[in-house]
């Protein structure tokens, strides 16, 4: 390589790098402004959970948590502030990461975690969906880095570009600003119902292999709550159809066993007569509609009466 070529290459390489860094910084800043100025939608609720909320009762889980627990009824019955922090499509790894972030800022009195059947089964999506927390990474690096590193390497390096942290968010933000998503202290009701009941034969419970990392995270979730003297309650939401025969899946059995070992109360509403095959209470097979959610919230609160959540 000629000396002049080396200099030229170096010069333009440097200029290009500076340009990309500058573009990333400026456009990333714009995206950050846009992201954190949202008033409704999934990201806005997440931002509220992470920075704004300090409710006494925090409900966590996937969409089944988000759609099933009416925060206002909790507040009315228990007289404690409540926020529904359920996030659509999110599984155990995300819940653990979110718990760590929340506990770094404040300690709720009670966490209600809605468990999903397959949470301990190996699934790469568990780790991939952590990207919802990318915008918050540098504010909570100490909490998030260990969790992000479970499914990825060089996390700090990957999350260095500003624009990458807001990857894929633009259209969502646009959507939420045009069609705001109304929520009630985090709870998002579903309206309408299942039209026709299907004849579904219960299957054998899943015997998929468990991910030992997830088992550890589940234990960590419990451990953290116990350490900070937070009341932890596990609930399993109702389903329209009896999905499996009498036995539980390996994943559910393990979660129940760990809960029992740690004396964590667990209420299982699957196969509850009041909900089984009651199409007027469901939006689809696994999500209750608003009517069903209100009924389920009341039932959950009835079950919680046996516990002293004021401690």
């Amino acid at each position: 390589m000629e000396k002049s070529d080396i200099l030229k290459t170096f010069k333009f390489g440097l200029l290009f790098t500076v340009l990309v860094v500058q573009l990333d910084f400026s456009i990333g800043l714009g995206m950050k402004q846009l992201y954190f100025s949202q008033k409704s939608g999934k990201f806005a609720r997440l931002t509220t959970t992470i920075y704004g909320n300090s409710s006494e009762i925090l409900i966590m889980g996937s969409s089944r948590a988000n759609r099933h627990y009416v925060s206002e009824i909790f507040e009315k019955v228990l007289g404690q502030s409540t926020y529904n922090a359920g996030v659509q499509g999110q599984k155990l790894v995300f819940q653990r990461a979110l718990q760590k972030i929340v506990l770094s800022r404040y300690f709720p009195k009670t966490i209600i975690l809605n468990l999903d059947e397959e949470w301990l089964e190996y699934d790469q999506e568990n780790y991939e969906r952590l990207s919802d927390l990318n915008p918050y990474y540098w504010d909570f690096r100490n909490e998030l880095e260990p969790v992000f590193s479970l499914g990825s390497s060089f996390v700090d390096l990957k999350l260095l570009p500003n624009t990458f942290r807001y990857n894929s968010t633009f259209l969502h933000i646009l959507n939420y600003s045009i069609f705001p998503q109304r929520d009630f202290l985090g709870y998002r009701p579903l309206y309408g119902g299942v039209k026709v009941l299907k004849s579904k034969i219960p299957k054998k419970p899943s015997e998929k292999a468990l991910d030992p990392i997830l088992v550890t995270l589940f234990r960590d979730f419990i451990e953290s709550a116990k350490r900070e003297k937070i009341n932890l309650v596990f609930v399993i939401s109702p389903e329209l159809y009896k999905k499996t025969l009498n036995n539980d899946s390996k994943s559910m059995l393990t979660m129940k066993m760990i809960a029992k070992d740690n004396e964590i109360p667990l209420f299982d509403f699957r196969n509850t007569e009041q909900f089984l095959r009651k199409k007027e209470l469901f939006f689809d097979d696994i999500h209750l509609n608003d009517k069903g959610s209100r009924m389920f919230t009341e039932m959950t609160l009835d079950s919680l009466k046996s516990l002293d959540l004021n401690e």
């Binding site: 390589m1 070529d5 390489g13 990333d24």
Partner: protein, 469 residues
């Protein structure tokens, strides 16, 4: 190691720096570095299969040496057969063993006879179809005395395992790539800049176009009974750009990376969806494979200098083989046969339209129809899709909630890609999409593409589709 991984982001600059720190005259030392780097690159995935590459390399190197000394026709043939048997034997075992055993079992069962084949748990070594064909081209060319065999084992090994194109091509010919390992390489500003541009465009095509489109395509093709005709049309159109973005993107990254090391790799794609006939499409799509089949299968069978019936049969057979090369599944065989049929039809029955627009449109439709078989998980899915398209147009499936953005982003990216390619192809770049007269304008253009990749790309979708072939 994947191009779209952080590992590669660290690996590439490291190898690049060490490589250019070696004085240009010490070509042998640079070749050793390329060889080591290529083996690390491949071994990152599974080091055990390095022995397979090494064995193929040794066999073809010594076959080449043998052919250089041997004058007796019989012995020369024997040497060529050794190379063919070893390379195609590996390919056959790792890629096709289970396919043939299962197919035989199915065929016997259909005829009411029992056949107990033993399927094996075989892992398909990444890129075996690519490096096997590359090293075979060397033995065949040496046998045909079109190429002087090399006595430089390191150069030959580096040629076989050259990391930018090792696992997904372009499938280089020894006559083009091997001599580049003998001569001092020169890195110029031009090579660096053009290489970088190709790499950036390659990543855009892979991460923004292909992987975005894949979300919708997978949602439809993996749940065939749940969808209706119009949805299959939309998903197939998306797949056309998914596979193009994925494979052409990989090729661009490979060519760009090779340029950084002073090597010139052949062009693998040339705006294929602007082809006016299926014949032209195959001159623009996966050029390195199409020309390989042309030179080593179609022409040795007689090309077009034989009777028309034989010629058309050879054409069909070549595409059938090409289909099988793509994967051990009947879907690929049907896909290959369909393309063979198109070519026969073009050659023997209907001449392609002279109207440019009609030609492009009809070719695009025909190619898309064949993509249904390429993408479907099995033949029954493929036939169900075709049947549904023609009998039940129904409603277009649009993902809800979080996934609704995937097809929109994919559509936007495809539009940009078509705009750039259409401008080059139809308007010969006369339409000014972006001013490029000044260096800073060009830099800003590519800088913005990098930002588009960072903010719209999919970074967890893993492998390139062609790795599996």
């Amino acid at each position: 190691m994947l191009f779209n991984s952080i590992d590669f982001l660290i690996f590439l600059p490291l190898v690049f720096l060490v490589y250019w720190l070696i004085p240009a005259k010490k070509v042998w030392l640079q070749n050793i570095l390329i060889l080591v780097a290529s083996y690390v690159f491949y071994g990152w995935w599974d080091w055990r299969f390095l022995f397979l590459i090494l064995f193929s390399t040794l066999v073809d190197f010594f076959v080449g040496r043998g052919l250089s000394k041997e004058l007796r026709v019989g012995r020369r043939k024997l040497l060529l057969w050794i190379s063919l048997s070893v390379n195609l034997g590996f390919l056959g075992f790792f890629k096709y063993y289970n396919f043939f055993v299962d197919s035989f079992a199915d065929a016997f069962t259909l005829m009411g006879m029992a056949f107990q084949g033993t399927s094996l748990q075989v892992i398909l070594p990444v890129g075996i179809s690519f490096y096997t064909f590359q090293t075979l081209s060397y033995s065949i060319d040496v046998y045909k005395r079109k190429l002087q065999p090399t006595s430089d084992f390191i150069a030959f090994s580096s040629f076989v395992s050259f990391f930018p194109q090792l696992v997904a091509g372009p499938i280089e010919r020894a006559s083009h790539l091997l001599p580049q390992f003998y001569t001092p390489r020169k890195l110029t500003y031009q090579l660096m800049a053009s290489g970088l541009k190709l790499i950036i465009m390659g990543f855009f095509m892979k991460l923004v176009v292909a992987d975005r489109a894949a979300i919708y395509v997978n949602a439809v093709y993996n749940h065939v009974p749940n969808h209706q005709g119009i949805t299959f049309v939309a998903a197939t159109l998306m797949f056309a750009f998914q596979i193009y973005g994925d494979f052409a993107g990989y090729s661009l990254i490979a060519i760009g990376t090779a340029r950084w090391f002073g090597f010139d790799l052949m062009q693998n794609f040339n705006r294929p969806y602007f082809a006016r006939s299926v014949g032209e499409f195959w001159k623009r799509w996966h050029i390195s494979l199409s020309s390989w089949f042309r030179d080593y299968v179609y022409i040795p069978l007689g090309g077009n200098r034989i009777s028309k019936i034989k010629w058309l049969t050879n054409l069909f057979f070549t595409f059938l083989l090409s289909g099988l090369w793509h994967g051990a599944n009947w879907t690929f065989v049907v896909w290959g046969a369909l393309n063979g049929f198109y070519l026969i039809f073009e050659a023997a029955v209907v001449k392609p339209s002279k109207n440019r627009f009609l030609g492009i449109l009809s070719t695009f439709i025909l190619i898309n129809f064949s993509w249904i078989f390429f993408r479907a998980n099995n033949l029954s899915d493929a036939f169900l899709i075709v049947h549904t398209i023609f009998t039940n147009p129904g409603k277009l499936f649009l993902p809800t909630d979080a996934d609704f953005v995937a097809p929109i982003y994919a559509g936007m990216a495809i539009f940009i890609l078509l705009l750039i390619e259409g401008n080059k192809e139809i308007f010969k770049s006369k339409i000014l999409l972006w001013p490029m007269n000044q260096k800073w304008q060009s830099m800003l253009y590519y800088g913005l593409i990098v930002i588009a990749i960072l903010s719209l790309g999919i970074f967890n979708s893993g492998q390139f589709i062609y790795f599996q072939f």
